[in-house]
Symmetry: C2
């Protein structure tokens, strides 16, 4: 049976269940709008660890283990782990995976990694290659800041368009059988690059990629935006979110009623994060916390989660290159 | 139908065909042992491009396009492209993908990326999610050297255990139908880290991961090493290769007769590459050139290709961490 639909979408024959989720965040996220939806809030951004990077690694390991525990599974029941983060060569992920001892496939999609992992995890299950997949993502403000921009301690003034990398990690277990919301459809993104070169302007850079994938999702599946209770992008922030609404309006579709960006849901206004949140953990902690509980409670029945990734590096920036972006979408539906 | 076999392996129900391969290399590889098996040999390592990184990106784009052309396909027949490289945030890959306009999934497995891509590409096809997948990998000596070690122009003396990153790119097209060798079985690796911290000693660091996956492949599938005409690891070099033979001997299996490392097949002794070749393109250019032709000609009928990845970063090295490694295996069999 051919499960591909249209140009970029997949309709799963046996939609995998999201059977367990967990997250862990830093103190700033723990003082934010969704504080009651996190499993663990750290007191600071380093804990007992010798570096921010190793703290991020600990968080990712913790989140995957906790998601497996919440699924009432043993780690050795997990057929594959798919995971990624923002650090060069996925440092947090690889060190987190050392202790887990499971077959592992590394992904790099920047902040689209959660959606990429849910998508490929669903492919593995629906394709008949296993019964359970764990997906893990993480990001860490202090580690990302010094890798991508300036020494974190320098406290460089941040422009209003900039976003704040979420310190956190998220784990999700997908199962071929079980109960709970299911991943029914996915749309795989293409690289979109409209020429933005400012690495502070990730929201505006990613917005066209999000619109490209959302538009293609609509074409491929015939599902209009109103099909979904809510459509979420991963980390466009306030500026990027406005652009998505505007670009969709130019295509004749009004999504103001049922569209939100995870990057606008995490911090309070007075937390001074400028345009909002970013990072793999932005969609990660929102999906595994607030959204998953809403789906379980029946408050949301059909959502489209769009991971958005800004695929630049410090090297590409130094070489005056623009920012290639991507967005992957997964439809998650409760019975 | 459950296609997982044993703890870490997959037996494909409809094994995908390898229907097109292409590669492009730098001048040093073009003077090496497999010179007649490359599609394009560059005159230098930068060409008309403003940086080594952008040259690598060009090479990857070229290799994927050429593989699609050799498959007699149009780019828009490719359902998904899976690709990755060694650079921070997959710089070469993302810039190469901009012009191709296909649904894209980014992978990071360091030098195991080819095997990871062939494996996940086969999962997508055998799972019913499409008809054609392209897999692309690249590495570039000059770009990798300055990212991982020292400024390339500095010409730091290299210890005998070190390896030379291959400058090259490889593209492969997998098809659900067609002719040619088929990917029949895959074994997904686990992270193995025995505590080696010297980033020059990647071969010895990766050897235990290769042995772990090879041993598990044997357990899962019941295929003894002699089942294969040849077993190839990706880039262990001469030192790592010896270790693999020794570690397998300790397990009671003699693989001296039918085991080779791609990293020992590329350069001539007098090319001063110390322990041999490394990089995503090491297994990439050997598989898409020499090995693919041998499979087509019937000189090889059953091979096991094991991509080996050294998953360290400069940050992890600076933080005194050891090197997590991984190996993924794919069995490729001609009719």
């Amino acid at each position: 049976m051919q499960k591909k639909q249209g140009k970029q979408s997949i309709v799963f024959a046996v939609p995998p269940y999201v059977t367990g989720t967990a997250n862990i965040v830093g103190p700033m996220e723990g003082q934010g709008l969704l504080a009651s939806y996190y499993d663990k809030i750290m007191e600071d951004t380093i804990g007992q660890h010798p570096s921010w990077e190793k703290c991020e690694s600990f968080m990712l390991e913790w989140a995957v283990k906790e998601a497996v525990a919440k699924d009432s599974s043993q780690m050795d029941e997990i057929d594959y782990i798919l995971a990624g983060d923002l650090l060069n060569q996925l440092m947090s992920t690889h060190f987190a995976m050392r202790s887990l001892g499971r077959p592992f496939l590394g992904l790099y999609g920047a902040c689209s990694t959660l959606a990429e992992g849910l998508l490929l995890g669903s492919v593995l299950l629906d394709g008949g290659f296993g019964n359970k997949v764990a997906v893990g993502v993480s990001s860490h403000h202090d580690a990302a800041e010094r890798q991508y921009r300036f020494p974190t301690e320098q406290g460089v003034q941040r422009p209003p368009i900039s976003q704040w990398t979420v310190t956190g990690a998220a784990g999700t277990v997908l199962s071929l059988t079980g109960q709970g919301p299911r991943i029914t459809v996915a749309t795989v993104g293409k690289i979109v690059d409209l020429g933005i070169k400012d690495p502070n302007a990730m929201g505006p850079a990613m917005a066209p990629a999000a619109v490209d994938t959302l538009w293609q999702h609509i074409q491929d599946t015939g599902r209009q935006p109103a099909y979904y209770d809510m459509i979420y992008t991963g980390d466009l922030g306030r500026v990027g979110k406005k652009l998505v609404i505007q670009l969709m309006q130019e295509k004749g579709l009004d999504i103001t009623a049922n569209y939100e960006d995870c990057g606008c849901m995490i911090y309070r206004g007075e937390q001074d994060t400028q345009s909002g949140a970013s990072g793999c953990a932005s969609s990660g902690i929102v999906f595994t916390g607030y959204l998953y509980r809403q789906l379980q409670a029946g408050n949301l029945k059909k959502i489209l989660l769009m991971g958005t990734g800004s695929l630049h590096s410090t090297t590409s920036y130094q070489q005056k290159e623009s920012i290639p972006c991507i967005a992957h979408a997964v439809a998650i539906e409760a019975e």
